[in-house]
């Protein structure tokens, strides 16, 4: 039995679980068992796809006679699919394990349990689809099941709006992909991916397909300006689903773009790389700026996902630019950096969302300004969450740094590009990525500092406690992976070699043979990174510093009230807040990006009114694009409203007249 068939069995198992969940969801105890079953199936699927990635060899094919009669359903697993399958099923397995504990607090499990395995099945199906029809059906299935999960807590008005925006954007994305495959299949309708590969599109049509694919896949991944649904929808779902949507489903979209751009169309033209790079860079900065302003922890994480997706797409853009110019090694570098970041982001974003879910359960609030002091109350979660924050902030020696370092190595190769336009654009995008990385560090310092340090900012935070063992175990596993991937990135990079070979023709140089496990992407004279040495250095120096300060410091200490400049001890509200932390950035970049406006309303002396500080941020993308579209649609519907009140005969006449007119048009045209 080949890998594709094994994967299909796993998908059938997921669907069977979905059916079982419908029956079992009304039993309150069933939730944990079902989540364990999900985790087992996901782990099996992960094992199969991971084995397929390492075994290599020819792609595994399966053809089932379901769907359109003359087409059937084609499935295929090659190195690219198996890599993404591994990422997704790993994420699914961890999320299911996390949900074993987390799901107990779920007020309405029957709204989530049946859709959860179906959603996992949908994502798996997208990755193994090998014809346009199967791909689009699986894609839409994935969108609809995730929509059902987003609207699970439908009592809150905000969630209903999020689900509506999500559904609209998902329809738009699928529509774009529909056009993509329509153009790719051409008039003859060769919908099987192999037929599409063998077609020569020509430059103009190829460019159109790429842009539509960027729009369609980008709307699911969260590229600006089609990202607006993401910060609404991801937080609306329960935390383990948020982790899946943010850490994993966005990767399915990345897969779709790679499949279409690198595999089905093929890279021949450099000009299409420019918009991908630029949109990627801009998305990264915009996403992280939003995250810096955000108080809701889950929305903050969702915005940070947008940033990471921007980084990944920028890297794909670089890979396209290098590949179009025949710079194979550099293309492989950028491509592998993108894939590595895909894997890393799915790990640390999962960790952070699980952590956020635990904090939400422990405090009952999502606003970080009401948390504070959790480091003393969630003693076990705090260090693990810190690992996630450090990893996502791209600090050495963790995995976020490894992939971002590779990304910047790719950027540094760009002066060799022959086109002047790319020569100018590349450093700009590089600067955007660097800015995004720095802002990401600030963002997560703010998140950790405000939520975990200081004193509790509200009564909610006082009662907080550590999550259950399942949750902690999963979070610990992911934190360990962050460290391992950070310390021995060479092994991961070598595992990605078949994917790069399949898509670009050349892999990155083999890394695992290097001395001291260092990473040498191009050649040793240019740059190398040795995470193992760095890790030992950091460990040793911090150990030394700690022991020196411990040895030399005085051992007798006294407790005394903190000196508060002579004032009475102030309330927890007076602590340094998240808004204070982001104020300098808000005042510089925020003035441009959000038209940030602060007004201070200070009553005159003697007046009893409290002083007021108001802050107004505007989402310019929403105002400029979506607000306008909405107002145009509203204006048109106002005009067409009269059509709602016609008589039956008028309606019939209208249908009749339309039919006759269209027939007349057809007669005149043919």
């Amino acid at each position: 039995m080949n890998a594709a068939a094994l994967q299909l069995y796993c998908i059938v198992a997921f669907l069977a679980l979905a059916a079982l969940s419908v029956a079992a969801a009304f039993r309150p105890r069933a939730s944990a068992g079902l989540y364990i079953a999900n985790a087992v199936v996901a782990a099996t699927a992960f094992a199969f796809s991971f084995a397929a990635l390492f075994k290599g060899g020819d792609p595994a094919l399966v053809h089932l006679p379901i769907g359109i009669p003359w087409l059937g359903a084609h499935f295929r697993i090659d190195a690219l699919s198996s890599f993404f399958l591994s990422v997704i099923n790993f994420g699914a397995a961890t999320a299911s394990l996390f949900a074993v504990g987390y799901g107990r607090r779920e007020p309405e499990p029957s709204r989530i349990l049946p859709f959860y395995p179906a959603f996992l099945a949908g994502m798996n199906l997208v990755l193994i689809a090998d014809d346009a029809f199967t791909f689009l059906v699986s894609w839409e299935f994935m969108s609809l099941t995730s929509f059902a999960l987003v609207i699970a807590h439908h009592h809150e008005r905000e969630n209903r709006r999020a689900a509506f925006v999500y559904l609209t954007m998902a329809c738009f994305g699928t529509l774009s992909l529909l056009f993509v495959f329509g153009l790719l299949a051409g008039a003859d309708g060769g919908y099987v991916f192999n037929d599409i590969r063998s077609r020569d599109l020509g430059a103009g049509l190829g460019g159109a397909v790429m842009l539509l694919a960027l729009l369609g896949a980008g709307s699911k991944a969260g590229l600006a300006p089609v990202h607006v649904w993401l910060p609404l929808a991801h937080p609306a779902a329960p935390s383990h689903v948020s982790a899946l949507m943010s850490g994993v489903m966005t990767k399915v979209a990345v897969y779709a773009f790679i499949r279409i751009a690198f595999d089905l169309v093929g890279i021949s033209d450099w000009s299409i790389a420019a918009p991908v790079m630029l949109i990627g860079g801009a998305t990264a900065v915009l996403g992280i700026l939003h995250a810096l302003m955000e108080r809701d922890i889950k929305r903050l994480l969702a915005y940070s996902t947008i940033e990471n997706i921007g980084v990944i797409f920028a890297m794909l853009g670089f890979a396209m630019a290098f590949q179009a110019n025949g710079m194979a090694v550099q293309a492989a570098l950028a491509f592998v950096a993108a894939l590595f970041h895909v894997a890393n982001h799915s790990i640390f974003k999962g960790l952070l969302f699980f952590g956020a879910g635990s904090m939400l359960n422990a405090t009952g609030v999502r606003d970080i300004e009401q948390m504070g002091g959790l480091i003393h109350r969630m003693r076990k979660l705090a260090p693990l969450f810190l690992v996630g924050c450090v990893a996502i902030s791209a600090l050495p020696p963790l995995n976020g740094f490894a992939s971002e370092w590779l990304a910047f190595q790719a950027v540094l190769q760009s002066p060799d590009l022959p086109q002047l336009g790319l020569k100018i654009l590349s450093p700009m995008v590089g600067a955007l990525l660097a800015l995004a990385a720095a802002l990401a560090a600030a963002c997560f310092v703010r998140l950790y500092g405000v939520a975990f340090l200081g004193r509790p900012r509200s009564d909610h935070a006082i009662e907080a406690h550590d999550p259950d063992g399942w949750s902690l175990g999963v979070i610990g596993l992911m934190a360990a992976l962050c460290v391992i991937f950070g310390i021995v990135p060479g092994i991961v990079l070598d595992a990605l070699a078949p994917v790069a070979t399949l898509m670009l023709g050349t892999p990155l140089a083999v890394q695992s043979g290097n001395d001291w496990l260092s990473v040498i992407p191009v050649n040793a004279t240019q740059s190398s990174y040795n995470p193992l040495l760095l890790f030992f250095f950091i460990a040793l120096s911090s150990f030394l510093a700690a022991s020196v300060s411990r040895l030399t410091a005085s051992h007798d200490y006294r407790r005394s009230p903190a000196w508060a400049c002579g004032f009475e001890p102030a309330g927890a509200q007076t602590q340094y807040s998240g808004a204070s932390f982001s104020q300098p950035i808000r005042n510089t970049l925020g003035r441009i990006a959000f038209r940030a406006a602060e007004t201070v309303d200070m009553p005159p002396p003697g007046d009893q009114q409290p002083a007021r500080f108001t802050l107004r941020l505007r989402d310019l993308v929403w105002d400029a694009i979506y607000g306008r579209i909405a107002s145009v649609i509203n204006a048109i519907s106002d005009k067409l409203n009269a059509l709602q009140f016609l008589t039956i005969r008028r309606y019939l006449s209208l249908v009749f007249a339309t039919l006759v007119l269209m027939l007349l048009g057809l007669a005149a045209w043919s």
């Binding site: 009140f645 008589t647 039956i648 005969r649 019939l652 006449s653 249908v655 009749f656 039919l659 006759v660 027939l663 007349l664 057809l666 007669a667 043919s670």
Partner: protein, 221 residues
Amino acid sequence: MQSTLALDIAHLLAGGIVLVSFMMLYQDRLFALLNMFTLHALVLAASVAWQAYIQGAKHLYVTAAIALLFKAIIIPLALHRMIVKLGVHRDIETAVGVGQTMVAGMGLVALSMALMFNVTSEADPLVREDLAFALSVVLLGLLIMVTRRNAVSQIVGFMSLENGLVLAATGAKGMPLVVEISVAFSVLVAFIVIGAFLFRIRERFDSVDVGALDEFRGDRR
């Protein structure tokens, strides 16, 4: 290839349906309209049976039998009862004058002929002309619905429209029997539902003139 005579008879029957559609178009009494509809269904059943014979397709005999049983017998009888029960058998009604209606009908037939001969220039001539006739019947059925004010005659228009669909389906070879049967049954269900509604409407408004509904909503006739 069929003999010319077989083709001619098929055309005669299909053309006969269009002719009966025209006859329905200028009936201004309900019973007369109903009789014409029965004739319409009879010719349809004959046409389908003939198609079954020349195509050698056994399942089309079933379609013909369905057309004969439901459309030529059950539905007209039921409608007849309904008209008597509703007490509208003496009503005379057309929303638009007969002359204009006939002219519009001719225009529609011309349109469907011109269109079908253009679009299906490569198809089998039998299929081509059959489709042209079928489209004419569909359009004439719609025209009947639009030009009538009485709900019962709108139903009759709808049923004759559906006859056009059956005609098109039998002309195009390879339409599965399942589809035809399900279409036939959906029409039957639609008929029952509409019939039920008619009585409810009548209970409330003392009329099955759809104008009464508009008045109730506050519109002027």
